[in-house]
Structures are given as C-alpha cells and as structure tokens.
Amino acid sequence: MTSGASRYIYVAVVIPVLIFAASCSTKPREPEEVYTRRKQADSLMLQGYDRTDTLHFDLAWFSFDAALDIYASLDNREGMIDALLALGRTKRMTGEIDSAEELFSHAWSLSSFSDNPRLTRSVLNHQADLALRQGNPVKAMDLLADREDEIIDGRERSAQLRLKGAARYAMGSEDEAAALLIEAAGVAEAADEAVAAAQAYYKLASMASLGARFDEAEEWALKALNADKSREYSPGIAADLRALAIISAKAGKKEAAEDYYRRSWLAWRGVGRNDDAESAKMELEILTGRPVTVP
C-alpha cells in the first residue's frame, strides 16, 4: 500500500468516525431546560404561600415581592399577576385594604392586556373577595358576573361560584347561596381540585351551623375534611377539624368535640400556627374542664 493510499484510508475512516463521535457525544442538557430563573421565582411563590398559610405575612410579602421582581425581569405576565394577587391578598389579610385594592388594580391592568380568561377571572375573584370583606356583596356580585369569554370549569370557575354563594348569603338568600356553593364544589371536583371543593363544603358547613342545622353542618364539614385529606392540605385539615369541633360542641356531642379539638390542636401546631393551636387547646380545656397535655 502506498503512503498516498494510507492517507486516503485514514481520511475515509477517521474523519467520519470523529464526526459520528462528536454528534453522538453526551451533550449536557441546557440549563434553561431544567432549572431556570422562573423556577427560582416559583420557589419563592411556594414559600410565600406557605408563609401565608402560617400567617407570617411579613415574610410572605418578601417572598412574593422577590418573585414579582424575577417574573418582571423575565416579562412573565402570568407570574407577575399571580405575584400581585398574592401580595394583595397578604395586604387584605393584614387589614391594609387600600394597598390591597391598589395591587389588585395593577393585576387587573396587566390581565387586561392578556388574552387569558383564567387570569382575568382570578383577578376579578380577588377583587370580589375584597368587596365582600368590605361588606359590599352587591359590588362583589357585579365583579362575579359572567363575562363574554367566561371560563366554565376549573379552580377559578369554582372560586367564582363559591364567592357568588358567599355574596348571596351576605345578601340574605341562603337557598340560592347553598345551590351556588354545591355547584362550586361540583365544578371543583370535576376538575380534580379537591381543596377548592373543600372550601365550598366548608362554607356550606358554616352556613348550616349558623342556621343551627348541626347534622347537616357536620356532614359538610366531614366532606371538607375528606377533600382536604385527599390533598394533604394541612391548614385546611386543621380548619376543618376545628369546625367539626365547634359543630359537635354546639350539637352537644362532647366526646366528639373533645376528639376534634385535640386533633385540630395538633394539626395547627403541625402547620406552625401556634396562636390557633393555643386557641384550640384553650377551647378544649374549657370543654373538658381540665388542663390538657399532648395525647
């Protein structure tokens, strides 16, 4: 074989093999695919929701605010709206209504440039909730009225119906309120949104309890508890257990009330809401007439 032929063999074999090897090499996945700044903002949102659940509103504010900054830098409109709503809800819960209104109004401005009806509905629901808390169910009903492009399923639809039910109840139409809340629970269950369904059941239990229909109230509260359990939503479970405790106590079922108070006490502690845990413990002590310790 001449040296020229060897060179040809070399060129014919080596170069294709190298090209093949290069194309088959294990290229590391792009960072953007697996872990982006969006994820960082998402983590902050989760942290904020957890902190809201444990009533640490100052800390929740910092988390949502930081998430908002990141979403804004990414021009992520959906994230920005969710962060603004979360910030507004934090302000609403700390009684800073003007700030809450302002934040919801920012969210509304952003959502009006969006073609996403879910986002629009989410903003309107938050504004309606605020109106309800301010004692203005008529304004809430206006905000909750169906729009042209109204969504007809999912969590936001369920929340819309639930808030409508709450508004109707505030206006004195209990039957209509109950029908809306049952519809809200149905919509939530159809969308596999157990926690949203539990919220509707919880409201139904509250209405029945305030109407002294304790058996019905217990039934709704148990439904709420089961729905929350299916999602391991601890703040919901704790609230449901406390509701069941109050209902049982009002119905004269002392033993059941004691059991529910004890469980809600543990559950609140587990969630980290020490004030609620202490209240449940105190209510349990009043009920039993003796100091209680961990079971």
């Binding site: 063999i9 909730d129 502690r269």
Partner: protein
C-alpha cells in the same frame, strides 16, 4: 510449502490503524462524558470532618451533576478544606449566599454533595470564591434564614432529619457552655482567675441566647413531629401514601398503632423536657448543672425521634411514593375565615 500472505504487512498495518482509531474514539467519548473539555469554575468550601467526602464525588443541584470535588485537605485549624469546581454551563446558578450540603443518605452519607443556590439576584460568584457548607455556622444560618433555594416538596420525615443534626449540635454546645459556666462561677466566687466576673457575665449572655435558639429549634421539631403524628392518623395522609401510593392501608394499619404510639410517646417526652427547660430558663438563677441534665433529657428524646425517622426513611417502601416538585398554584382569594 511455505505459507505466505501476499499483503501481510498491509493487513497488519490496517489492524494497527483500526486499533489506534478505536483508542482515539474511546478517549474522545470518555473525555466528552467526563466533561474533560468543559471549562470549569473553581470554588472552595470548609467542612468540620472529611467523613463522607471524597475526591471526585459529584456536586449536584436538584439531582443534576453540575460539578465535582477536586481536592480535600486538612488545614492548620484541623478543619477540612474542600476544593471543587462547577462546569461553566452552570456557573450562573452559583449566586451569592449559595451553600454546599453533604446530605445524609440511606447508608450514612450521600454519594454527592448538594448545592443550594442563593436567592439573591445578581452576577454569579467569581472563580476562587469561598462557599460555606452547612457544617459551618455561616452555612447553617443561610439555610435556617431561608436565604437559599432549598428544593421544595420535602416530606415531614426528610425535614426532621435535615434539621435534627444541627439542633443536636446546638444543644450539645449549650451543655458544654453550662459546664464551663459552672466552673467559671466557682472561680469567680473564689476570686480566682483574670477578670472572672465579666467573663462569667459574658458566658451567661451567650448561654441565654444559645438556649433561646435551642428552645425555638426544639419547638419547631416538636411541631414537625406533631404534623407527622397527624399525617399518620390520616389514612390518606403522607405516610400511608408513601407506603403505598395506590392506596392500600394494610401496611400502616396492621402494625397495631406501634408507630403512632411511638411518635406520640416521643412527643410526650419532648413536651415534658421542654416544660423543664422553659421553667429553668425563666431566670438566670436557673442556669445550673440541673439544666444540663434537663437538656440532656431533651437530646435523648430527639435522638430517639431521629432513629424513628431514619427507620421510616430507610424503609425501601417509602421510596416509591416521593412526590414530584410542586408547581405553585394560586390558592385563591378567600381563606377559611368563616364563623360557625
């Protein structure tokens, strides 16, 4: 008859060429897979012990290998200096406040270090920067004050196991401080030593703050155990789901509540111990060897809790149902604030 290949030299040459080619290909593959040609950014860290550390072990971020340990050495202060590098592709994740963690695995320590990136916006840390580990006070505080992006979705068991070692360390430190205080008090009373009184006062301040921190930590663990107890009680809760995500409750319910009772007994012990600690810490007069005994009781309870949690976590059945990373979902406007 003499047997002869006509082109023997050429065939041997070809085989040699093919062998060389294969060697080159394998080398290229190995290089690419081991990222020999990828640019690396070097960092340093500090650990208290080299247990579980080894040269070449991976540095992971949320399960993805983003770098490796380059070197481990014992420094002049008997601490462990660790040099590691991050592939340049992931350099933008190494933000200010990032922390390096040696996770505990099923058989002692994990095969890779975990990096928790800082939550501070800004440019990535430059080459040669020191990144604290959770075995240093700085690293512990960064994690504790939630300034790092720690993977969400951890279950109660994992959370308890992550927090317990640090709490036990703090409690042990407090006990040692109490021991030192007792001897310095004696020295002060006897009028011996240099500046005995002021050093005693400083010790008291240190112990008080250390104790407050420990009490908060133990209260947190007690709350986590309470949450776990509730979850155990809940037939659709975390532990049953982990034991069998398909919903069969046999495994949990057939243990005659042994696990449930055990968790509750630990809670009772912790409650008792903490009541003691709280009453003793109410006044400085309470700082005495008796407090050390009470704290020791707390530590024993916590260690027992740790064993139970490890038992739960090491159960291979638990590995089946670990949940995926949670995506934030707006929980809605209204919370459960209704009257009953």
């Amino acid at each position: 008859m003499k047997f002869k290949f006509r082109h023997a030299d050429k065939i041997v040459g070809l085989f040699t060429l093919v062998a060389l080619l294969l060697l080159v290909i394998i080398t290229v593959f190995a290089g690419v897979n081991n990222k020999w040609f990828t640019k690396k950014i070097y960092f340093t860290s500090l650990f208290t012990s080299a247990d579980g550390l080894k040269v070449g072990m991976g540095v992971n971020l949320r399960g993805f290998q983003i770098g490796r340990v380059k070197n481990i050495s014992l420094n002049a202060d008997n601490r462990v200096d660790l040099d590691f590098y991050i592939y340049v592709t992931y350099h933008d994740r190494i933000l200010h406040d990032s922390v390096l963690v040696l996770p505990s695995g099923l058989l002692g320590t994990s095969a890779a270090l975990e990096l928790y990136p800082g939550l501070v916006e800004g440019p990535p840390l430059p080459d040669g920067t020191f990144i604290p580990s959770t075995q240093t006070v700085e690293g512990k505080m960064l994690v504790k004050t939630r300034r790092v992006d720690r993977p969400a979705g951890g279950d109660a068991i994992t959370d308890i196991l992550t927090d317990l070692p640090e709490i036990l360390d703090n409690l042990n430190e407090t006990i040692v401080s109490i021991g030192n205080l007792t001897s310095s008090l004696e020295t002060g009373i006897k009028g011996e030593g240099n500046d005995a009184f002021s050093s005693t006062v400083r010790n008291i301040e240190d112990i008080s703050s250390g104790l407050d921190r420990s009490i908060r930590d133990v209260n947190d663990v007690t709350a986590s155990l309470a949450a776990l107890a509730v979850e155990l009680e809940d037939p659709t809760g975390l532990v049953p789901t982990l034991l069998d995500p398909n919903g069969s409750l046999d495994t949990l319910l057939n243990d005659d509540n042994v696990l449930w009772d055990h968790i509750l007994s630990i809670l009772v012990q912790l409650e008792g111990a903490m009541a003691g600690v709280n009453s003793l810490s109410a006044s400085l007069a309470g700082i005495s060897p008796q407090m050390a005994l009470t704290l020791d009781e707390t530590i024993r309870s916590l260690k027992e809790a740790q064993k139970v949690m490890e038992g739960l976590q090491n159960n291979p059945l638990l590995k089946r149902g670990i949940s995926k990373e949670t995506v934030p979902e707006n929980p809605g406007a209204d919370m459960r604030e209704d009257e009953f």
